[in-house]
Amino acid sequence: MNNLEIVKAGLNKRYAKERRFKFYGIFSISLSLLFLFFLLFDIGAKSIPAFTQTYINLDIEFDKKSMKLQDQDSYSEETLFSASYSKLGRNALYKLFPEVTERKQKKALRQMLSSGARYDLRDAVLENNDYVGTTQNLWVLAGDDIDAFVKGLIDRNIPEADRRVKDYQVKWVDILEAQNKIERRFNINFFTSGDSREPEQAGILGALKGSFYTMLVTLLLSFPIAVSAAIYLEEFAPKNNWWIDIIEININNLAAVPSIVFGILGLAVYINVFGVPRSAPLVGGLVLTLMTLPTIIISTRAALKSVPPSIREAALSIGASKMQVITHHVLPLAMPGILTGSIIGMAQALGETAPLLMIGMVAFVADIPQSILDPATVLPVQVFIWSDSPERGFIALTSAAIVTLLVFLFFMNLIAIVLRKKFETRW
């Protein structure tokens, strides 16, 4: 047998091997895609109910007596703020269903409306002072049980005793529906308000802003520090120096430390020693900075290493100083790699809850944070808190919060990709 024959005899086998190898690759890619699509589809589908909200149309009579207001022509802002609004919604419902007299049923009728309806009515009056003493046709937020029922999340065919919406409530909803007095609208609340214990009033804005401030602090601190550290270690630090080796080993190890350890460190140092306010995005950002530093340092060093030595040498040969070589040539060329590393670090930080537990950011914060010093929570914590809440409406809200988190991440990535494209150079 000559060589050609030997090669030919094995050729089919080698081709088959290659085909199999390709197939394995395609198979694993499609499997991961399948998982991804399944996950996204599941979360997306579950989040849909959260984006609409049930409203009931009522003729609200803003009479001074139920609002506990003195008989005057005009009222100051404070008087209107502290007036009583709790009776207005229920009075309108009692009028609509005058046949309901039994105490328990009356309570059920009251609960058709959200407990937050009174604050909406208050806001409406504060905006239009002339509502006082008149009757207005308004759409009022429905309670979470009614909302779940209208969305079809509560089955009307199961026995009444096992259902949170009773038969008489089902009847009222049917009557309202027949009169077109109940409708589902886009849930604007979700994007404009902070957390609430009532699913129909809960919004993501507080957590979104909390995440934004936390990420801002993290980025502003970790990016410059990490890049400077990496430049020093890569370009200036003496080689084969015992101290530098120790530092390098430590940075590599830090990248693998469980994140909760950084939380404990943050509690001990930032809060207990420096007295940074607990639960604030500032302390969250400081802790997450510790966590992202090693990631960015390692990837920045890799990016700096990948800049061809010829560029450095050319610049040095025409008389550039070391500083000029770095800032004018090496750093801009390494920028795409640095940005990729930073975005990986930031994405990790965005999804982190464990270290925040120690510094008090796993908390119920209803007010929307206005600065990096206000108490705040972040998106993954909001997901955690909502997923652990008993009310049915929070299941959809949990998925909607995950969707928001993914969109936030998407925009962060988008910015990094745009910047990367801007800096990218080919040679």
């Binding site: 609960q111 509560i154 007295g275 940074v276 607990r278 908390a363 119920f364």
Partner: protein, 350 residues
């Protein structure tokens, strides 16, 4: 690049200066995850009614909350801690040692621990002894097929009807909380230990060898019959709907919200309900408290107002809005006593 460095250093400088005068304009609450759902509703209502900053509620667990609360009296410590049990004497001493001498105790109400399974599954009526024999790691030998009295054996039961012929013939599978949870403490101390006490030998052991008694009477089996779930009770409920024979252990408020999917088991012939927990017929329930640092009253704006909102009849009374969230109110005379204590800042003495 230069710009971001400047911004970064400004922030760093800000950090250090802000620490000096970090006056707090919101109320700071920490503590039990069981009280968390109730505390947050009150906080939200208070914030919306008054227009003041909504109190911040952290869910740290009862023990973690006590540690933070008892750390000292400065405004960087919490004003209130929630607890799903009474303050321990060791915690009280820690408070005293750190200068937190004036605290007020308020009983919020009660929480029942439900043993529930899917609505289409068999119905259970346990005695506490059944629960003990089903869940304990080691049981007295005499409980199983005429074993020798006095010996302890590894729990051999696999089906509920082996323990008690009146129970359904289904496999023992209980989904419950992990050891970090207050619900798990209640399961161990109230249900499992409650059943354990039925054996005179064990009762005798309590006075002779307390640590051994605790180990035997509270130890939960680890052979797969008790499945430890995360802290997420919604997850337990969704697992229960898929396996009608499995039982889940969680707080009453979750049962109350999910009555269309799961049903609670009766304990000692008493079905779990609002009324049976309130009047004490249902044996597995625990008190919920909060503790106020009186030195912070008048210092933290709105603290008195928040407490007043919490102990209002419309909040924690029979018809209060906390009952809509699954809180079981305490009897009226006890309730009004605690409300007076809370408003009058009565000092707790153990």
């Amino acid at each position: 690049m230069k710009k971001s460095l400047i911004i970064a250093s400004t922030i760093a400088a800000l950090t250090i200066t802000s620490s000096a005068q970090a006056a707090r304009d919101h109320i700071d609450v920490v503590g039990s995850s069981t009280v968390f759902p109730f505390s947050t509703v009150v906080a939200e209502t208070y914030g919306k009614n008054t227009g003041k900053p909504t109190p911040k509620i952290e869910s740290t667990g009862t023990g973690g909350g006590m540690k933070l609360f008892c750390k000292g009296e400065g405004i960087d410590t919490p004003d209130i801690t929630n607890a799903s049990r009474r303050i321990k004497s060791s915690e009280f001493e820690l408070c005293m040692k750190n200068g937190v001498t004036d605290i007020t105790e308020v009983l919020v109400g009660f929480d029942g621990i439900a043993f529930a399974n899917a609505i289409n599954g068999p119905s259970f009526n346990f005695s506490l002894k059944d629960v003990y024999l089903g869940l304990a790691a080691k049981i007295p030998a005499e409980a199983y097929q005429n074993g020798t009295e006095g010996d302890m054996i590894d729990n051999p039961f696999t089906h509920w009807n082996q323990i008690n012929a009146n129970l359904p013939a289904v496999k023992i599978k209980v989904l419950g909380p992990p050891p970090t949870s207050g619900t798990r403490d209640a399961l161990q101390e109230l249900a499992v230990e409650g059943g354990c006490k039925n054996y005179p030998a064990m009762k005798a052991m309590k006075s002779s060898d307390k640590s051994q008694y605790k180990k035997l009477c509270r130890g939960i089996r680890e052979d797969g019959a008790y499945v430890q779930m995360g802290e997420n009770d919604n997850l337990i409920i969704s697992k229960l709907t898929k396996d009608p024979n499995a039982l889940g252990v969680f707080g009453f408020s979750f049962l109350d919200q999910n009555g269309d999917k799961v049903k609670g088991s009766a304990i000692n012939n008493s079905a779990i309900s609002f009324e049976s927990i309130a009047n004490g017929d249902y044996p597995v329930s625990r008190p919920l408290y909060f503790y106020v640092k009186n030195a912070h009253r008048g210092v933290i704006d709105g603290l008195d107002g928040f407490i007043a909102e919490f102990v209002d009849e419309d909040t924690f009374g029979e018809e209060g809005y906390l009952t809509d969230k699954g809180l079981i109110p305490s009897p009226e005379n006890i309730r009004s006593g605690f409300a007076e204590d809370a408003l009058g800042a009565v000092k707790l003495a153990l």
